[in-house]
């Protein structure tokens, strides 16, 4: 008998499917020489490799947050991330406290031992509770941070040694030679950039995590929840919106775009009409209209959802679907134009002359040659969607109130700037996490475009040749 029940929410299931697809695609690419060469260009790119490494850390956080279970009957749903960060989740204070503070950020009236009433800043329940004298906190934090940095450095060295040893093993050279190759950046894959990124991530995350069990690294919010915990939880929401939305729009855009471009005629007219119509409605308004309707629908069917977590999850999924349905038009237009070009090429004509069916031509000859457009737009849309989520949540058509996301964090923290003394840490945490995530996604998408887009690839080569010639 298991001590807990495993809970699989809808978005969890879709994330698992997505990861399975990515793994399968990875194996397929490995087996195909022509695909492998273009992907090799991606891992050769230093910026791309570093961005990929950081993004993988984000994905790991989001994945740990997607493994849901119920620790006991009649208790809310937890995730593996909650279990790992139990201290962060359960250490709630009374109200605001600044990062690394040991005292609350609000005065309270207490009655002293002599009966006199005083207005003081009370000590926090958890933050720095191990200290006898609150004035020692700065020295304590410094000392602990230094220790954590040493741990991070040690961990980094171990990881580096493992990677180098693996490389040495694989290409049958000595450890020192492999180390030299990595340091000079002479490996086919840009391992030096990846290891550098790992080092940066460790140096930031290990001290933050070690200190977070006894301090509130990013402070606490109005109801005393740890802000660092909220920022980590937001990562999953951002990843879900960024990936599942594109997943929802890909099939629609691909099928309609290829059909319109290949078949032409009335199909083309209808598809063009549909996307012009959808496109002519301003995006935010279409999303708003759809979300308003979804809200009404969910409120009318409360009994469909057993728990608040399920309802919030359904709302997140519906938001992804709505974003997908409202944003497929751009990609569809792109695919249609490209299919129009491909349709006229000799190999398609040859296939037609051999009597290959339309369906086979579209799936075997056209679609594989559009794959790079699909992939590039998938990666490029990601960062835009993460940013859009924050805006939508501000407008009030974003995720459920119970879902922690960057948008909901910013939305609740917005008013706190007017408070005296001002509460800046919620905003700072949300914006810095979001900035890192989006920046890495943008860098990766640039690298992916350079690697996969044949037009780009030729230009990059031309630029490199021009540089070498000078």
């Amino acid at each position: 008998m298991m001590p807990f029940d495993i809970v699989i929410l809808w978005t969890d299931a879709l994330i698992f499917v997505l990861i399975a697809c990515i793994v399968a695609a990875g194996f397929y690419i490995r087996s195909q020489e022509h695909l492998r060469t273009s992907w090799r260009r991606l891992v050769e790119n230093r910026t791309g490799m570093a961005a990929l490494t950081v993004l993988l850390v984000f994905v790991a956080v989001g994945f740990a947050d997607s493994l849901h279970y119920r620790p006991a009957p009649q208790v809310g749903v937890w995730s593996l991330l909650d279990a790992l960060l139990r201290n962060l989740k359960t250490h709630t204070e009374k109200t605001y406290s600044a990062p690394f503070a040991v005292k609350l950020d609000a005065r309270e009236t207490v009655t002293g031992p002599d009966g006199a009433q005083m207005r003081i800043y009370p000590r926090l329940v958890y933050g720095g509770a191990h200290l006898a004298n609150p004035d020692e906190s700065a020295a304590d934090i410094l000392w602990r941070a230094r220790a954590a940095c040493v741990h991070a450095a040690a961990g980094w060295i171990v990881i580096c040694a493992m990677v180098v040893a693996l490389l040495a093993c694989r290409s049958r050279i000595s450890f020192a030679q492999a180390l030299g190759n990595v340091l000079r950046g002479e490996t086919a894959t840009a391992w030096n950039a990846a290891l550098f990124a790992v080092g940066a991530v460790l140096l930031l995350s290990v001290p933050a995590l070690e200190l977070s069990s006894i301090y509130h690294v990013f402070g606490t919010d109005k109801v005393g929840n740890d802000v660092f915990y909220q920022a980590l939880k937001s990562v999953r929401t951002a990843l879900v919106i960024g990936t599942l939305t594109t997943l929802a729009m890909l099939p629609l855009a691909a099928v309609l775009g290829i059909l319109a471009g290949y078949l032409g005629g009335i199909v083309d007219d209808v598809v063009q009409y549909v996307y012009t119509t959808l496109n002519s409605i301003p995006g935010v308004l279409l999303i708003a209209a759809a979300v308003l309707l979804m809200q009404v629908f969910i409120e009318d069917h409360q009994n469909w959802f057993a728990t608040a977590a399920e309802r919030a999850d359904a709302r997140l999924l519906a938001l992804c679907l709505i974003l997908g349905v409202t944003s497929w038009t751009g990609l569809c237009r792109l695919l249609r134009a490209e299919t129009l070009k491909l349709r006229e090429l000799e190999y398609v004509e040859a296939a037609r002359a051999f009597g290959v069916s339309h369906w086979k031509i579209m799936s075997r000859h056209i679609l594989p040659n559009l794959m790079h457009i699909l992939l590039i737009s998938l990666v490029m849309d990601f960062s835009g969607l993460v940013l859009a989520e924050a805006v939508l949540s501000y407008v009030g058509i974003g995720v459920d109130q119970n879902t922690i996301s960057f948008g909901s964090m910013i939305n609740t923290a917005r008013m706190e700037l007017a408070r005296e003394p001002i509460v800046w840490w919620s905003l700072a945490a949300a914006f810095s996490f979001m900035f890192t995530l989006v920046l890495m996604a943008n860098l990766l998408s640039d690298a992916v475009r350079d690697a996969l887009d044949p037009r780009m690839a030729s230009r990059v080569r031309r630029a490199a040749a021009a540089k070498a010639g000078r």
């Binding site: 119509t277 301003p282 308004l285």
Partner: protein
Amino acid sequence: MIAYLVRRVFYAIPVLIGVNLLTFVLFFVVNTPDDMARIQLGIKYVTPAAIEQWKAEHGYDKPLLYNGQADGIDRVTNTIFFEKSVKLFAFDFGQAEDGRDIAHEITTRMGPSLAIALPVFLVGLLITVSFALMLVFFRATYLDFWGVVLCVAMMSISSLFYIIGGQYLISKLWHLVPISGYSGGLGGIRFLILPVAIGVISGIGASSRWYRTIFLEEINRDYVRTARAKGLSETTVLFRHVLKNGMLPILTGVVVVIPLLFMGSLLTESFFGVPGLGSYTIDAIRAQDFAVVRAMVFIGSVLYIVGLLLTDISYSLVDPRIRMR
């Protein structure tokens, strides 16, 4: 040219009908007037009688498409579809939840929206194009490299951050301009400076990088080599030749949004308390005022179609190779 324009205008009609049908389906079929009444009345006071009364007050107590009880032409006109959807074509938007006339609200709110959106658009275009040209001028140098890095970093920052950070820094800490508000006339300029500046800054990253790619594509063309071979200076080549030819792809993205400037910017207007159409829309979404959202959807699509038309016209003006048939 005239014949082409007339044909394009006629082509816009089915699109508008499509938009209209789509909003009708979304707002009345998927989501019945009963649901709307329940949302507006709140959970507590929902009784069948209250719903009926709300529907009667707002004119939703008619059949959806076909009124069997009426006579003659009224069978078609005395329906929700005719009253609420078809009348949009005549820009008759009906009343908002608070009883005000939507058409009147829209006309009074267009001015403030334009007062912010137009300067953002013009100044933004000027700055981003010059910045992109500068990066192209210094291409393959450290200035270009770090300029692109700056662009990527700037486009990775949420627009909410620009607004919140700008308001806090400029207005609250330094007290340079009022934090929010609006007034007409020359005195209103002090209210406009900050939103316009923030609107421009938040757009620099993405557009400059895009324009830079366009200009770089042009700079490898043969005519540029010819111009250089003639002995023209690099500045002349950039401004007289590359800029002119690069304008074509830029026009596609830029002209389409000109009519949409009337719609204003949702975020900026709502944060700075500007009584424009953007904040009107946000308030309507928050109050779940379906009538206003419907009106804005319709106006937005009309403006978008106007934008497409303008794009075509501007093409023929800029590029003599393109002839309107």
